[in-house]
Symmetry: C2
Subunit: 466 residues, 2 copies
């Protein structure tokens, strides 16, 4: 649903609410897709949400509830009667229940658990025990299990019987009497064989699975790499405990990309959306990095202070080039680092490729640095010097100053690319998250190195002329 | 397959090749998953690839071929006999064929087209006509279509008949005699109804579809938002032309995230992986941005040059703080911009939220700036001044200099956050890609603004004391 449609619907809804036309509201909201219905409910004010929500059919109510923001879920849960709460959670798939439980405050969780039957309660507790971000936390325990000796007809009978309660029925899992996973069968396979064929004849025994404690990012990679629609999850003894479906993986991939992007921009990642986060949360996610980076910039200050006297004797114009030099170094470094970090995340680059990556970056950086140095020389001499220098009265840039800055720029770009490509590879080799060492850190290192280079090169090149 | 396994397999394969044990090689490679087999083939040297590839069964050959890199595909295609080429492409799904054709040089494309039958050729040409990055280019034309009057039994008969050739059979599409899409039926629905029920009784008529010319990112968003396993693609008259399956969307989402990350790091995005790109390609993707940003740094140089005389009279120590100030401003700005850009990409933030975002960032930035300013004052006075200043002999930082720098830092952080959150929102409102205005550009703007602020504040605060 586009934003305009939502706006129209909201207006219509507000009108209907004013005229108390609940019959029409009921028709309207039950016709919508759950996610759209959730978006519409979010637009209403707090006191209207519950009465409208109550007009949803039992199934729509559960599906819509799952799609709402955590804040609205919490609001509804505190207002629900026990019967309403039970009705919503009974219709829900277990993995969604667990997702919601993980986000709710303790008193709300207690009420949910109290309203569940004993079996569900056990399953919820099982899942809550898996480590954070593991396959166990995103899997669903509702899958179709079959036995080796069954025929196609028996399988279809079983699927028909259990289908309503299962999130996906197209991938079925063949287990032995110890619940160990021994094969998979798809509904497509079943459709392509005669009713009397035993599934042992055609089931796929070479099964790709994940352990419940595996990282969910690994699960996402497996599903994406092997183009699966679901991945079975087993315990350490290969006993089937659940499945992860491809739609859960879409969310994981979005989250992981967001996480990497946040870390690269020096923000502690959060699972809440920006609009959901309080200003204190945002502050907490940002301040440590800013402090750390500010304090590490002490080095650049020290370097300038130690060289200031010498440089100033040579030419005060040299100082004006420092920001350009540092910015270009920072940009060159983050181009390399971000490319490598993304390549590592997608498994397109591996630590063993370090030598090839370095050799590639050396050649690229020489090309880039050469081009930038030439343009920099021309820019300093013509624009900064002849044009603005005369205009603003600080004079032209002598050619030896242009040369010193260009040479320093050349060295800075080459070094920035080396640091930018090697740091993420080094982090990966040390089993650290490559994204953590991304641009801001690399910028700090490159800043310090480029300043030192600049000072020495300036002294070397400019001294004979003054 | 983990890297270690691949290494072991490669060694085993090289041994088998040396002893010319082709029977064992045949067994080995036909047992592997296509993607793993492709990875293994990539490890071999050029002359071995074709003989090993020929040992794959017809079906495995096609599936493995699809998973190989473009370079290896091209290598094989130039070496294939016409019969081999036809065999591989006949087994392939049409969307994979089109993907490969789009990457191959003209002479290879000609050979592929020549070996296809007339119908395939027409379909290929149809798909190649869709705009770049549109739904049409990622869809598959192999889907199951049903008619409204069919019963469940008739549907199963049809599915059984056509299943082998279809990429997915679980979502079936009900079309009228003008090929217009009028509903969808899942195999799950079919399994849950009696054989004699006509599908018109339960088919879903409220269909979510995309037009073939829609952007593939939109298709990915729809599939992710509505948790679909496939999305029907129609032409402008609602005639069914194909479907996009969720596994294609995984690739699109990865690509889009990579694209956004590249643009934020000031690199022109590329669909090739880093290792596949030549150094000239990498150079071409990076140099325009570095040049642009370097030239835009002219402003910072101008500002320093115009204020240099005045600042130097006040205290040479002030210069040493410029890099810290600029870096912190840049980091603060990119924290905000990257967060907002990602929120916009995931549709969690919309341009109409601008006022709320700004109000949030103002409060967050005041908290951050306050904290940073206090720490900065202490750091300058104690570390840079008392500790290192005495050690390196450039002296202590008087309190009024610490104050000037801290106040300038406060203002810089607040302004950086404002610029950082408003620029992406502005870009989005103007229908530009928000990622393009990300960190590097914002850094340039923030650098210039923070320098001007710093110079004026320094003059204001420090002048009375010298």
């Amino acid at each position: 649903m586009e934003f305009e449609e939502l706006q129209e619907l909201t207006e219509k809804m507000l009108e209907l609410l004013q005229t108390k036309n609940f019959r029409e509201i009921k028709r309207l909201i039950n016709d919508l897709q759950p996610i759209d219905c959730a978006l519409l409910l979010e637009e209403l004010n707090e006191k209207d949400i519950l009465p409208v929500f109550r007009l949803l059919s039992k199934e729509n109510a559960a599906e819509t509830f799952v799609e709402m923001t955590n804040d609205s879920q919490e609001l509804l849960l505190t207002k629900f009667s026990d019967a309403e709460l039970k009705a919503v959670f009974d219709e829900m798939f277990l993995d969604d229940t667990v997702d919601i439980i993980e986000e709710m405050p303790a008193n709300v969780v207690k009420r949910i658990i109290k309203q569940s039957d004993a079996e569900t309660r056990n399953q919820i507790n099982e899942i809550l025990k898996y480590p954070r971000d593991s396959a166990g936390t995103i899997m669903t325990v509702e899958y179709v299990s079959l036995r080796e000796h069954m025929t196609v007809k028996e399988c279809f009978d079983r699927i028909r019987k259990v289908a309503v309660d299962k999130e996906t029925i197209y991938n079925c899992y063949v287990t032995d009497d110890k619940r160990k996973l021994i094969g998979t069968v798809t509904v497509k396979d079943l459709l392509l064989h005669d009713y009397e064929t035993p599934i042992s004849q055609f089931m796929e025994t070479d099964v790709i699975s994940a352990e419940a404690t595996d990282d969910k990012e690994f699960v996402a990679q497996q599903i994406s790499k092997y183009d699966l629609s679901a991945l079975p999850v087993v315990d350490s003894e290969n006993r089937m405990v659940g499945i992860v479906t491809v739609d859960d993986v879409l969310d994981v991939m979005e989250e992981e990309a967001t996480e990497d992007i946040s870390i690269m921009a020096a923000v502690t990642p959060s699972t809440d959306t920006y609009m959901e986060q309080s200003i204190w949360q945002i502050w907490k996610n940002r301040i440590p990095w800013l402090l750390l980076l500010m304090i590490s910039a002490t080095f650049t200050g020290l370097i300038i202070n130690s060289f200031e006297g010498k440089l100033n004797l040579l030419s005060p114009l040299l100082f004006a080039c420092i920001p350009m030099l540092m910015d270009t170094g920072g940009n060159a470094g983050s181009q390399a680092s971000v490319t490598i970090i993304r390549g590592l995340a997608l498994d397109e680059i591996r630590p063993r490729d370090a030598a090839r990556v370095l050799w590639k970056e050396i050649r690229v950086s020489l090309l880039l640095a050469g081009c930038l140095a030439v343009v920099c020389f021309a820019k300093l001499y013509l624009i900064d010097g002849l044009a603005f220098g005369n205009l603003l009265g600080y004079g032209v840039y002598p050619w030896y100053i242009c040369l010193a800055v260009s040479v320093a720029l050349f060295a800075t770009v080459v070094i920035a690319k080396m640091v930018g490509c090697l740091m993420p590879l080094l982090a990966k080799t040390c089993k650290l998250d490559p994204a953590v060492v991304a641009s801001p850190f690399i910028t700090t290192i490159v800043d310090a190195l480029s300043l030192i280079i600049f000072c020495y090169i300036s002294i070397l090149i400019v001294t004979p002329f003054v």
